[in-house]
């Protein structure tokens, strides 16, 4: 297990390096530079040159990459071109908001999606199964910003139950929780569908296995077979899905973050990309990829914990 973890982490680091190299290649290819963007019609060539030098964009790409990693190893991810604040600070300020949003959304999605999937399996072939089936695909198909907009109209504008924007007052848990409800729901909705479908599909497969027949032959009640015997196995692919999903939520939260004016990593990176604020782009991508890779590793280790068969393969 330890050897496996070490191996996975090694691979993860390799992926991290490759992603950064790819990012630098992209930067190299993408036209536009921060000076042109920010200074708009007022930039003088000297000024542009100065900014470009300040960001090291005049150096060869390989040198920039080496520099980046050299600095990253000492915890220095570079400085925001405009505010000159450390990128690490920017990311660390934005990250909690997105993480909380993503985790809450996924937790909600799991709490609703998994039981729905189970219910669907227990009532397979019935109207309930059909309704859950259509609903889950339906909610996947509705773009999250549409959900966001309409819930904003309903709950913030018309009913005034929930705050329209922001992440809540710092330190005020209730206000933060209130500000979380709509964005989390907007993201969670589609995921409820995904998870319910995923759980149903893998559950159907598990339900056909001989050990379920064994459990039935001992007269175990169906709910117990589903919730304990089948779910323990059927949840495993869902865990990988959720792990990958958290990664994609972090970057795709940008629509929802835009609608609810919620400060977060999605907004940070899109803004940075749009203004060609390369140090911020690179630093954010590095941290995001690191998080993504660690989540995937964590999920694999969790799967190994949940499935003793896998666990033993790694032990051996």
């Amino acid at each position: 297990m330890l050897a496996y973890a070490v191996k996975r982490i090694g691979l993860g680091l390799l992926i991290l390096v490759l992603v950064m190299v790819a990012m630098y290649a992209a930067v190299f290819l993408v036209p536009g530079d921060p000076a042109t963007v920010a200074l708009g019609p007022r930039a003088t060539p000297e000024l542009k040159r100065l900014l470009i030098e300040r960001m090291g964009l005049d150096q060869p790409v390989w040198w920039q990459i080496v520099e980046f990693f050299r600095n990253a190893l000492t915890g220095n991810l570079g400085y925001d071109v405009w505010s000159n604040r450390p990128v690490s600070t920017l990311v660390l300020q934005a990250l909690p908001n997105t993480l909380i949003l993503g985790l809450t959304a996924l937790a909600v999605a799991l709490l609703i999606g998994v039981p729905l999937g189970c219910l669907s399996v227990m009532r397979r072939g019935t109207a309930a199964d059909a309704v859950i089936g259509v609903l889950s695909v339906g909610v996947i198909a509705v773009p999250s910003f549409v959900v966001a907009i309409y819930s904003l109209l309903l709950f913030a504008v018309t009913l005034r139950w929930l705050p329209a924007i922001g992440a809540g007052e710092a330190g005020d848990f209730i206000s933060q929780a209130k500000a979380l409800v709509m964005p989390a729901a907007a993201i969670a909705l589609g995921w409820i569908g995904y998870i319910a479908r995923m759980v149903r599909a893998s559950m159907m497969e598990v339900m056909g296995e001989p050990h379920i027949r064994t459990a039935r032959s001992f007269g175990l009640p169906e709910w117990k077979i589903v919730s304990k015997y089948a779910l323990r196995i059927a949840i495993i692919p869902t865990i990988s899905l959720v792990a990958v999903g958290l990664g994609s939520i972090l970057s795709s939260a940008v629509f929802v973050e835009a609608v609810f004016a919620r400060p977060g990593i999605g907004k940070l990176i899109t803004d940075a990309v749009n203004t060609r604020n390369y140090p911020v782009v690179m630093g954010t991508v590095l941290i995001m990829t690191a998080i993504y890779v660690s989540i995937t590793i964590a999920a694999d280790l969790l799967i190994a914990r949940l499935d003793p068969r896998v666990r033993d393969v790694f032990r051996g």
């Binding site: 050897a3 070490v6 191996k7 090694g10 691979l11 051996g316």
Partner: protein, 342 residues
């Protein structure tokens, strides 16, 4: 007469780790031998039964002989020549054939039977004026209707698939046939079909066969000689009739004794052997069988017995081989009871 196939001291080692973990772990973990020091030979036209329980390495041995698995040590000779390089193995494979345990699984599922049957010729560049006709001829050879040429493998019954397997194996008129569990999963009323077919073709075409199986009842009728495997090693070889009538290795005796007899009047009183088959990962010290052997002695636990000849045509790997009429034989006598009949 020189043997068609000679295997000497063949070992196969499975590495414990992949490339990456070898990079990450500076000290490589030791591999384990799934085949260990196997020596056997096969005469032209002879049928050898390779018998063992699951995990004994019999299938791996068969695959190693044909070069599908790389041997860690030992030597293989085919028709008097050493087989070592990939080219050697290719040459050898052109003169030999293999039948797989699962006949349907060994046929490429998206090809029709006609294409599958003639594929060996196509690959080996044998000129064929009419592929369909050639396929039909092969079907006829194994007693199948020619209408099957357009079928897909999954549309065949178990027996039919087995026959197609035979036809495909014998299409190139090999000198050696390796058959891996040719009757596994077949009903008794059908398994004879396949074996009879192999027997007939063998008489007709003349090839040597090595049949890998765990089915003792079947193999005693179709093989000339037997080789018994336990944990990747041969424990006994000899003419089939002799091995059955007077097994020398306690394991052989155990196997024969364990087979349930389809006669309620001759029920066995107790199982011939207790305990579980150890894993090749944790080979017992000394004689591998000592953990389960009913006549185990102290020496067996520490000292590995040599594989040594006994009499003219027999080899055995045991410190204390069973003698005809010997005392130890009692432990394996087929004690039976007829509960209702007496």
């Amino acid at each position: 007469m020189s043997p068609l196939l000679a295997v000497e001291d063949l070992s196969v080692t499975f590495a414990r780790n992949g490339v990456l973990s070898r990079l990450l772990n500076p000290v490589p973990l030791p591999g384990f031998n799934v085949i260990d020091g196997v020596t056997l030979s096969l005469m032209p036209n002879e049928t050898l039964g390779l018998v063992g329980e699951s995990g004994s390495g019999k299938t791996t041995l068969a695959r190693t002989i044909l070069g599908l698995v790389r041997a860690a040590a030992g030597r293989i000779a085919f028709e008097g020549r050493d087989v070592a390089t990939p080219a050697d193995f290719r040459a050898m494979r052109r003169r030999s054939a293999m039948m797989f345990q699962d006949p349907v699984a060994s046929l490429s599922p998206r090809l029709r039977i006609g294409a599958l049957l003639t594929e060996p010729q196509v690959i080996q560049g044998v000129p064929m004026p009419d592929r369909r006709a050639a396929a039909k001829a092969l079907l006829a050879l194994v007693g199948l209707p020619s209408s099957l040429v357009d079928r897909y493998p999954h549309e065949l019954s178990g027996g039919q698939a087995r026959r197609v397997g035979v036809a495909r194996a014998l299409a190139m008129k090999p000198h050696l046939l390796l058959a891996d569990e040719p009757t596994a999963g077949l009903d008794v009323s059908v398994q004879g079909d396949v074996l009879n077919l192999i027997g007939e073709l063998k008489r007709e075409l003349g090839f040597a066969a090595m049949i890998v199986t765990h089915n003792l009842a079947m193999i005693r009728h179709v093989s000339d000689r037997l080789a018994i495997m336990y944990l990747g090693r041969l424990v006994e070889t000899g003419p089939t009739q002799d091995v059955f009538s007077a097994p020398m290795h306690p394991y052989t005796a155990t196997l024969i004794r364990s087979e349930p007899i389809p006669d309620p009047r001759r029920r066995s009183l107790r199982p011939a052997v207790t305990g579980e088959i150890p894993s090749v990962f944790r080979r017992p010290a000394g004689c591998e069988f000592h953990t389960r052997c009913p006549i185990v002695r102290e020496r067996c636990k520490t000292e590995a017995p040599a594989y040594r000849p006994m009499g003219t045509d027999r080899m055995v790997r045991c410190h204390f081989p069973l003698q005809k009429g010997g005392q130890e034989r009692e432990a394996f006598s087929h004690a039976s009871v007829n509960q209702r009949g007496n």
